[in-house]
Symmetry: D2
Subunit: 480 residues, 4 copies
């Protein structure tokens, strides 16, 4: 309430109580002031009450909430359903303008503030990991955001038609290149110990073979499923600088790992990284649908933001802003620390389990998030057992535990991938993945290990039956 209304309140209930109440209001506004002034993620999280106060304040600044507004345009932020209005805190106008997703809307000062502040707070959180960069939130998931980066680069490199891409078996980043209209040049990884790592020589060979001016960019990856590990970003960045080729990094869920962030930072320091893209949902525990496009050259990042034609949904921005204000920087750092701790716990438990079942935990020290346990023994037992394990885990509500069999072949947008899902044409063994991602709990790990143990035991019994002359495929209780 403004001071005038406070004065009237003092006539209704005791002035001293009202005065204390209005001082209390000031302490909420003080938090809001700091956010507005500094544009940083507050160290301590806000209460829901401060957050909703703030969002309501933003909403009343948008023209669709003006009490005296009359609208005769084609886009007035009208909402037919009050359920919908409410769930968006009555922020209806989205973000951006025709020209630019970062632009300010005359009809929506509140939504515009939301947009600016979200970008600023998200940038601050990226800086926690030591990266000084420029960024914006875009309401598209990682794949489409990578596409937008490639489309922006096209304007700068009209002759280029190839993208060099150290292989990673994840469809959406592959399709991101296809959608943008480029031909991905897949560079197979090399096996070092258990790890699959970037084949730097093969990359350089391709660059020279194709001619740097024909190459739109190198498209590398940090976060990935073991036994693949993050690309050798430093070396790639140096190579890109040397050949004057842009470098775009798919950092999908890498914000949660200081190692991934450090790789990017180092790459940019010693060589060239033009943009790196990360998912909002995977790093900040919000619903699917947004990404952060970041880079070290502010003007290039602005060019990307200006490539987005038209307005866009404010929903992912709203989600990440609410989440970061709720957690505060300290809360987010705590989550990251817990994730790291759970990684160690998961590795140790998987190792124990692997030993108990005659398998081994693959040695993939360069991958800070994902782990893999071999399934050699299971495979030996029966061809279908590996797939069967996947089905069993699904049925038992172990989600995210990926079983990778050998010898899959898949054609994606015309390109054939041998050994699909394993990032390699010939990985030595089938395996199972498990990851320690942000938000994971000790219970997740414990339950997963327990259920996995049960499944493996039950498959072993199956084996015994088989050895007594039965066929292997009996026990499928569930196939996806």
């Amino acid at each position: 309430m403004n001071s005038e209304n406070i004065s009237i309140c003092e006539k209704i209930v005791s002035p001293s109580y009202v005065r204390q109440g209005s001082q209390a209001r000031r302490s909420h506004e003080q938090l809001i002031r700091m956010l507005l002034e500094q544009g940083k993620c507050p160290e301590e999280g806000w209460s829901e009450s401060t957050i909703e106060l703030f969002l309501n304040e933003l909403a009343v600044m948008d023209s669709n909430n003006f009490l005296g507004n009359c609208g005769v345009g084609e886009r007035e932020g009208r909402v037919a359903s009050s359920l919908v209005a409410r769930r968006h805190y009555r922020l209806i106008h989205g973000i951006g303008r025709s020209g630019d997703i970062a632009a300010i809307q005359p009809k929506a000062a509140g939504s515009s503030l939301l947009n600016k502040l979200t970008n600023s707070v998200v940038l601050d959180v990226l800086k926690l990991s030591g990266i000084v960069a420029s960024c914006f939130v875009v309401p598209m998931a990682t794949g489409m955001s990578l596409t937008l980066c490639f489309l922006t680069l096209r304007l700068k490199r009209p002759k280029a038609s190839y993208i060099i891409w150290p292989r990673i078996d994840q469809k959406s980043c592959f399709k991101a290149m296809i959608t943008a209209g480029f031909e991905p040049v897949v560079v197979e990884n090399v096996l070092e110990g258990d790890e699959l790592r970037t084949d730097l020589e093969a990359v350089e060979r391709k660059v020279e073979e194709l001619g740097s001016e024909n190459i739109l960019c190198v498209h590398s990856t940090t976060s990935c499923f073991a036994p693949r590990v993050p690309d050798r970003l430093e070396e790639l960045a140096i190579m890109c600088a040397k050949y004057d080729i842009p470098h775009v990094v798919n950092n999908a869920y890498g914000v949660q790992s200081s190692k991934c962030m450090h790789l990017i930072q180092q790459g940019a320091r010693v060589g060239r990284i033009d943009a790196f893209v990360q998912s909002l949902d995977k790093n900040f525990m919000v619903p699917v649908g947004g990404a952060i496009i970041a880079g070290f050259n502010e003007s290039f990042i602005q060019e990307i933001s200006r490539m987005y034609p038209g307005r866009a949904s404010a929903s992912p921005s709203l989600d990440v802003l609410i989440t970061l204000l709720t957690l505060g920087a300290s809360g987010y750092k705590k989550l990251l620390a817990e994730r790291k701790e759970m990684y160690t716990y998961l590795a140790q438990e998987l190792n124990r389990l692997a030993e108990a079942h005659g398998e081994k935990l693959l040695h993939t020290p360069h991958n800070p998030i994902s782990l893999a346990m071999s399934l050699d023994g299971l495979q030996a037992q029966c061809d279908k057992a590996v797939t069967q394990l996947g089905s069993m885990l699904f049925t038992r509500q172990v989600s995210g535990a990926r079983v990778v069999a050998l010898g899959n072949e898949q054609i994606v947008s015309g390109h054939t991938f041998s050994g699909f899902m394993s990032h390699s044409e010939s990985y030595p063994c089938p395996y199972l993945n498990a990851a320690s991602a942000v938000g994971i709990t000790r219970d997740d790990v414990t339950l997963c290990i327990k259920r996995l143990d049960k499944c493996l035991k039950s498959l072993r019994k199956e084996k015994v039956k088989k050895m007594r002359g039965k066929k292997c495929s009996l026990m499928f209780d569930f196939v996806i």
Copy 2:
């Protein structure tokens, strides 16, 4: 509650009351059954209580809400903030999979159902206007959705580099072509009476000049600001068929007008229309951020949906589904009827006002949504008066009333537009736009006319002062 629980309830309170309660539950389920079976927008709108029951049912089918789930993947639908979880009804997994925005997610049966049903209900509503087509909702606004269509066409027409585009001065559709990496070929409109219409001959000349194989598509427009009127879709569609050139229609806010929909239907009947794109917010009164990509060839529309790399936000789908279930087909039709009625009212009131101020309502019968009133007299009075009127209306909370002065020149992505905002290099007079868009109320019109009248009167007084020797620019109380 399932029947088992109902039985237990009957031991706690009188069986006859519980039985009636459970019968009442069935009537909600009956509505849900019809939706699931037919995939159609219900004729009568649902109560909030049925809608929330349904959304909760969907949510419990997603793995992030499984009580016994343990997650060891990199994407588990975890949510850090309960404010965020709640506002999305705990539907966190988004829609689509790496490969395809229409694909089903194993981890999220509920969100997958939401996605399928939304597309189906939206299609049903498009059919209300007589169009039999295929469509899907995409969580990007119109501009970026057009870009996706162009990118899909690129794969089919690798040699093409031009898009033929009858001029419409709206940045995002222009940028949609630039972003997709094509060169827009702007075809100026012709003046017929007060209307700006498609110059069909100029289009055909361009086609022949550039060679049809070099042309990605014709990109035409239905909904637009008067005095421009919807493109001559039938003739363009016939031309596209003749020259075997794809045809993409920007139908941004055309769903709300039976005329626009009829144009598309006719175009497809007599010639070629490959895709037409419409905004969710402008047609369905939901927050900014989604669009419908539709077409008459199901397999082509599927190709577009498969071009979207990766998962996407479910938020726009959720909004439009809630809204259509709330309104029901009858409610939506009622809104459309009211819009049409308000168009007539707005035209009549603007006409009266124009006459009172020595201006005229431009005669643009082909534009079913937007109207324009000349500002010749105001312009004559003083050069700055026209711009000043714009500022005055903004300050007085008349939103959406666009003032278009003569002689603006603007460079957009390298292309110079003379007479920018007027869709023409030399429209005869400055003017003011007002539109009757879905959701407009009688109060909107009445207030707008009243405030506009006041502004015009106050500017006239200004003129008198000026004639007494003062300069014109004094009175700017507000400049954007």
Copy 3:
């Protein structure tokens, strides 16, 4: 946001947009100012956005929402569940203090304002019907609120042990007297035409018989089921004044009827009315649980409010305040007008139906809300048919249509009521009640008549069967 924060916002997005946004905020505050200054129900309803803004402002003034508060008391407004906090808008401290339900709480300036404003707005709405009185909202339903009035009177009339009560067959008002520790003196009604009316002579006889000093009060009733009609308040009020006996009126759902309110006003003008009590839910379409205790002598009403020992729930106050702010005075008056119109429609339809089935609509012009249709024919048919009709209506989801058979006898708290439910020891015929209460829709009436018609027809067929030798009781498809 305060002006300081607004200034910072102007550095983030264009000052002119922010300025407009902050002016828009002022228009919400202007509405709040008027409410605070005048304490009246606004003429036009508020938007949900203004209401929630206001409630949030109140909440931040309560100590449980102070960001720097530390609590070491036994009652600190802590809330364990965020679902609960949210549904109460974080207003947790309730209303009142140990001494007085109207008292201000030092720990809760916001809740205290809520309490004062609700009482003031509710009073304003009572004044719409011409009554100038004093009142407060109490979070107890009508019965318990009457008890509180009687308990307050006891202090003033320590010798009194009787309450004179013109019979109305509704348990809670009877029990209200028993609970307060008094002996109800039931005065049977007289039959005038079809109407049951107050037997004034019998009342006066009782007064003289018992001695006025032994009588706590006369306890009369306005709103009631036909064919009973509101008590003759004027005459009773005059009698109370003459004998110096307090007079308490049960006006349960009478606020919605100008006739009931007029009766009270007249009674107070010409005689004595000490307090009148009305239900919140029945008059204002809020959940069950609150009442308004009102009267013409402010100090007596204060005495009652000071009788309530301790704090109380703010929930009913919150509900009625939200509702009245949403409706506005004009919205509430519109609801009342519609109710009146539906009364006429219901009467006409019931009349038509009665004639079609050989029954009659009882002539009860003094009852402005409830109607009754005779069931003589049905009764004649078979003894159980009347009860059966009740069951059938229940099963067919016709709620509130009460069927009253003859000859029920019921003992309530030791008192035997012959002809229970009919307000009379010997009403001439069984009947069915239907009421036009606030919020009723045309659909309610139409559906009710339709279903009633079906039931009556189906019972008649039954009769035919019976006359062919079958027993009457067969067809009970449902018994409560």
Copy 4:
């Protein structure tokens, strides 16, 4: 969704995913089943998603949410504001019927279930502390609930007019007796060490003096501010049994203390306790407004519930049910354990502080919740200093820290209390109270001690100034 709808879903998305989703639904229903079957507080808390699912299921069973309902009664559960409907989960009908607050409503099977289950779950939680009793939730705070108990006893003891009440200086429990129409007989406490304890001899003297048949009941207290301690319940209960006098215990915030609960249990075992009343908000961290009336004789507790005339608000029941389902029994026990731990911490910190300032922590081992620190030194310094400390704490947002000066005299409902607030006519010293109540955090204690320390230091400086010749009253920065 019912099985039929599930089947249709399987045609829309993969059957295996839908099947898993519907199994997941079953796990929510399983929890609900256990609640319905056992009526117990679940050991582990439920997720918000299960709770809301359950409440929605209840709501659809109430007639106001029947899709086909038509209502022609005077009370149909209509709601004018969707904000209000939503915040009550559309449970509008309240609890109870005219006759009985525990009765089942034909129109509201869902609300009736809510009522029954809440009472059952609350009873289960009372049993955690070893008490086997009978109870119900009443939507009135402690004071009014005590009144209801007294009113019920009146029917059984028509001659009685006195209530024997060991003094406790809290207005609402005193007024509870006045409101019920009885004369409280105040029995002063005796000083034992620092503690104020029940004067058993004085009580017995009064009983004999007044005659047991003239005494309605003994009204004792457990939870109270130190240095008063819980009454000697065992001895009082034995005395009540001996003289055949009912015994009602005010256990306002005693559920949170195993000591208080143990006292009641012991009292009932060895003697007589008819009813004990506890506040919902103080024990269960819900908003103010509800209480639990409990006792060991089920039929007497039912008599009380049947004394409540009419329906009542379901809001307090809803709050406590949501809260207990959220916490689970284990969560609630955890809260109680933390409270106990904080009591020790608070005692230790207050002791340290007292010593530093030349005061002492009063030795009150029988009070398990509240502590008191003497303010002798402060008092010695200046008469007004003690009051001033209170004001200073208020201003510094230390809520609940009560400062008790000597020599207050207050008249409450005609009775004069010397030494008001100190439970004694002549307690030896002024003091300050602090309590460790459920929900208190370590931060609350730390901050309180810190601020208290600052205030005491600042008042000491004042003293120095005063001793240099200035008056004492200067520094009042705030007076309530």
